[in-house]
């Protein structure tokens, strides 16, 4: 077990804003259980502000603390402010994350941004980018998601870890 900061332990022991939002305005899911972490963020938007932010997380202590921190940072923020949340700013607010946890557990900002993209696409403010494809199987993917929708990395987890 890595050594976590007090802030991480606090958010892990007492995670804020856990749950799902029914009829959410935007939903973003990242990761998969193969790599050990998976997060789903739900947002409710009113007057360009994130009125409510909730999430569900499958993952280690860091992943849970990251989701909790992201929800706190995003709740009440404008869309533009929330889009500026990065893995780095989340780690900073958490008073640091163990090095080896940074990449796989720090998916919160990404999941939140996906939920925001989902909202923007639903409301016609953002068009799907058709120029993206999975680097492993050439399957075209319109989302900025490291995990291919075809699930090729789930079948070949070695590719990802190498």
């Amino acid at each position: 077990m890595p050594v976590y900061s007090e802030k991480v332990m606090d958010h892990f022991m007492h995670p804020r804003n856990v749950g799902e939002i029914e009829n959410a305005d935007g939903v973003g899911e990242v990761g998969n259980p193969v790599c050990g972490d998976m997060m789903t963020f739900y947002i409710k938007v009113k007057d360009n502000r994130l009125e409510d932010v909730k999430y569900k997380t499958f993952g280690c202590g860091a992943a849970i603390a990251v989701s909790s921190m992201v929800s706190e940072m995003a709740k009440g923020a404008t869309i533009e402010e929330a889009q500026k949340i990065t893995p780095e700013s989340v780690a900073q607010m958490l008073e640091g994350l163990p090095k080896q946890k940074f990449h796989c557990s720090n998916l919160g900002a990404q999941a939140l941004n996906k939920a925001i993209d989902d909202y923007l696409m639903k409301t016609g403010k953002l068009k799907a980018n058709e120029n993206k494809c999975c680097p492993f199987c050439d399957h075209e993917d319109s989302e900025s998601d490291p995990v291919c929708r075809e699930g090729c990395q789930i079948k070949n987890p070695e590719i990802k870890s190498s």
Binding site: G19, M38, F58, K101, C104
Partner: protein, 253 residues
């Protein structure tokens, strides 16, 4: 050469070495076993097992950490890993750690004297834990064999959640366990043992290993059985995998 663990430390299964050695003898293949998990815990007899070489370590039977031994059948020749001095018949260079050797000798003496008694107690609390957790928490699988298993060893996979979270919450309740989830490993990979046994990544992430020792009592198991169900429930409640499972099940009904 064939080398097989006598018992696997991660899932507790005791391997059928005697059956395997019948094959290696017939094929004239040297057979080594890593008996670190079994020596001092259950009866180990190189004649009955039919092995040609056996490794053991002192710490599993309360000997000094760092003490260990390699037994080699007469006639089996080995190349030293450490070259230099002529200690131990030229098989391993380096000054012998006398205190560790004496300590391990004394520990195995006590372990052999108390083996039946310790084994009985440990098997009893182990089964208490296994049956207790299975009856209190749904969607839990026991990894490894239920009967041909190390006394004092209980290993599980708890579905829909990840091991490190459980480990941290159990730790906050004074329960020290380990997990083979990718998050708890340095390499950030799920346990190769569980994957080789056919468990999916998803299930292997929820692995949890309890090892009990001679200081543990039935009261300790009661404590685990009290604190563990709410921990699992808490983590499942925030797991997207679990809510997906619940939704899929609802749809199927």
């Amino acid at each position: 050469m064939v080398s097989i663990m006598h018992a696997n430390g991660e899932v507790g299964t005791i391997q059928p070495l005697a059956e395997i050695s019948r094959i290696t003898k017939e094929k004239k293949v040297v057979f080594h076993t890593d008996a670190v998990a079994t020596c001092g815990t259950i009866p180990v007899n190189v004649k009955e097992l039919g092995v040609d070489a056996l490794s053991l370590a002192g710490n599993p039977f309360y000997g000094p950490k760092g003490s260990a031994a390699l037994w080699v059948r007469r006639g089996v020749r080995i190349l030293p890993l450490l070259d230099g001095g002529i200690q131990e018949g030229g098989r391993r260079a380096g000054t012998e750690d006398i205190a560790a050797i004496i300590g391990m000798g004394k520990a195995i003496e006590i372990a052999l004297r108390d083996m039946a008694d310790r084994g009985q107690k440990l098997t009893k609390i182990r089964d208490m834990l296994i049956h207790g957790l299975l009856s209190k928490i749904p969607h839990v699988v026991v990894t490894g064999d239920l009967i041909k298993r190390l006394p004092g060893h209980a290993s599980f996979c708890v579905e829909f959640i990840e091991g490190e979270g459980m480990l941290m919450l159990l730790n906050s309740q004074g329960v020290a366990v380990s997990s083979g989830s990718s998050c708890t490993s340095r390499a950030l990979k799920a346990s190769h043992v569980l994957l080789a046994m056919g468990y999916s990544h998803e299930i292997a992430q929820g692995s949890l290993l309890f090892t009990m020792g001679i200081q543990n009592t039935p009261a300790d198991i009661d404590h685990v059985l009290n604190v563990m169900p709410p921990i699992v429930e808490r983590l499942r409640e925030m797991s997207p995998v679990y809510s997906k499972f619940l939704k899929a099940n609802k749809g199927g009904q």
